[in-house]
């Protein structure tokens, strides 16, 4: 598993020598190196609305986990919470060994969040955008070019302002920014939305490569057929609480 394909951008930048892990890291209630996400009764408020109303969730390393649930169930809030963007007001929340109740900042650089909103600058070109966000995350310059090539953003597309792209091309640009960072935990909010058949296949392939290289993936999707095939585990979110499907 340590032999990561040099052309894959999916692996985390600091792979904590996964092979050296001994025993079953999943036993007990504590947080081990195998356990990437640990939530117990986690409550997150959006204003005064409890978007997460006591979530229990444990996710181990190198898994692909599908979040499903009706609109307004809290999927997006859960992903943003795991990225360290939303304050957890009650319960326990540990992501990548970082306690989110005391420190939300240090987890942010190690996760990659693909949200509905892109955060891209419409007036800058694709290449400028990917280069700015990747350099902000201290990514290698070679990774940046390769990431764009991987997402099919080479040639003429590089110099097109993001504002003139189609929704699918924007999504590809966001994905390029994400894989150039080599996150340890991928948090994807409906990654298949807006992409063509080829793009969706590419997303699935990137996710498999990511977990092969030691990363963990949590995605929400309404494309259940495709995602169920991809996912190792399925978690259903409803009314701000999570239940695991076996």
């Amino acid at each position: 598993m340590d032999a990561v394909d040099p052309n894959s951008f999916s692996g985390p930048s600091a792979d904590p020598s996964a092979g050296a892990l001994s025993g079953d890291g999943v036993s007990g209630d504590g947080v081990t190196e195998q356990r990437v996400v640990h939530l117990r009764g986690a409550v997150a408020l959006l204003g005064r609305f409890p978007a997460l109303a006591g979530v229990d969730l444990d996710i181990n390393r190198r898994r692909i986990v599908l979040l499903r649930g009706p609109n307004g169930a809290g999927k997006t809030t859960l992903l943003r919470t795991l990225a360290g963007l939303v304050h957890v007001s009650e319960g326990e929340a540990v992501v990548l060994g970082v306690d989110l109740l005391t420190d939300r900042r240090s987890v942010r650089q190690r996760v990659g969040l693909l949200a509905h909103t892109t955060g891209l600058y419409d007036e800058l070109t694709v290449a400028d955008n990917v280069s700015f966000w990747s350099r902000a995350a201290r990514a290698d310059r070679s990774d940046v070019d390769a990431a764009m090539a991987r997402l099919g953003l080479d040639g003429r597309l590089r110099t097109v302002p993001v504002g003139r792209l189609s929704a699918g091309q924007r999504r590809r640009t966001s994905l390029a920014c994400l894989i150039a960072r080599r996150p340890e935990l991928w948090l994807l909010d409906e990654p298949h939305a807006g992409l063509d058949q080829e793009g969706r296949d590419l997303v699935d392939q990137l996710l498999r490569e990511a977990t092969d290289a030691g990363a963990t993936v949590i995605l929400s999707s309404h494309e259940l057929d495709r995602s169920l095939q991809l996912a190792d585990e399925v978690v259903t979110l409803s009314g701000g609480v999570a239940t695991r499907d076996s």
Partner: protein, 255 residues
């Protein structure tokens, strides 16, 4: 009167308490004494005539307005440093009450200016910097009253509040320089300082006491009101969580 005692940290349960009833009574009595001495017993000034009586309100109001600004800055610092909502509300109360007294200072200053200078407004250093103080306070209140979540309003207002006293000092300094390079500050030149004695001095002293008591009473009540408002808003979190969880039962029906 606004010192922090352990019981107050947990917060008041009503805007009224025995201490504030006594405080309010004393404020009313001292205002009565101020009216007696300021309007009736004290003599008119030799040079300013009856207009000097405005001073008994004007000078104490200006002083407590600055006091309110200090409360706002101190409250903002402690809020940013320790996330203390108690102090954030002190800062808010300080700014609102300071705004009131700044307006009183400006209005009385202009009323005093009409008989003294012949016009309501001159670009006197103190008058100008008081007007700037009002604008700075209105900026703080505009942020504090934004239609947004409490955290958003409070944090942004605290940054503005933190800079309030430094800004007031810089504005005062620059306006002083600006005027003194051209003319002597009129209020000082027509001076009140040297001529105050006897009953006039006592009236001014009474004014300070009365206005300070009113200031304290207003701060305490404004703070308690804000505190109770926040309590009402944040109550019912457990209920909200229960309601949110109940949605899950409905959601279970759908796949």
């Amino acid at each position: 009167m606004i010192s922090q005692t352990p019981t107050e940290v947990t917060g008041p349960t009503s805007t009224s308490s025995r201490v504030t009833r006594v405080l309010g009574f004393l404020a009313l009595v001292s205002l009565g004494v101020l009216v007696l001495f300021g309007l009736i017993l004290s003599p008119p000034d030799a040079s300013q005539g009856e207009a000097v009586r405005i001073m008994y309100i004007h000078v104490p109001s200006a002083t407590v307005a600055y006091l309110g600004c200090f409360l706002t800055t101190i409250g903002s610092i402690v809020y940013l440093w320790r996330k203390s909502q108690w102090w954030e509300l002190v800062a808010y109360a300080g700014a609102e009450v300071a705004t009131l007294f700044t307006v009183i200072t400006l209005v009385t200053g202009m009323l005093w200016g009409r008989p003294t200078w012949g016009v309501y407004w001159v670009w006197d250093a103190r008058l100008t910097s008081t007007a700037m103080l009002l604008l700075l306070l209105l900026g703080y209140l505009a942020v504090r009253r934004l239609p947004a979540d409490y955290e958003v309003r409070a944090k942004r207002a605290a940054i503005v509040g933190l800079l309030l006293v430094p800004n007031v000092m810089i504005v005062r300094k620059s306006v002083d320089w600006w005027r003194t390079l051209h003319q002597k500050p009129t209020l000082l030149a027509n001076g009140l300082d040297s001529k105050i004695e006897g009953l006039m001095l006592f009236s001014l002293f009474t004014g300070f006491i009365a206005i300070s008591l009113v200031f304290g009473w207003l701060i305490v009540h404004r703070f308690r009101l804000a505190w109770l408002e926040e309590q009402v808003e944040s109550e019912g979190l457990d209920l909200a969580i229960a309601e949110r969880r109940a949605e899950a039962l409905v959601g279970e029906v759908a796949p």
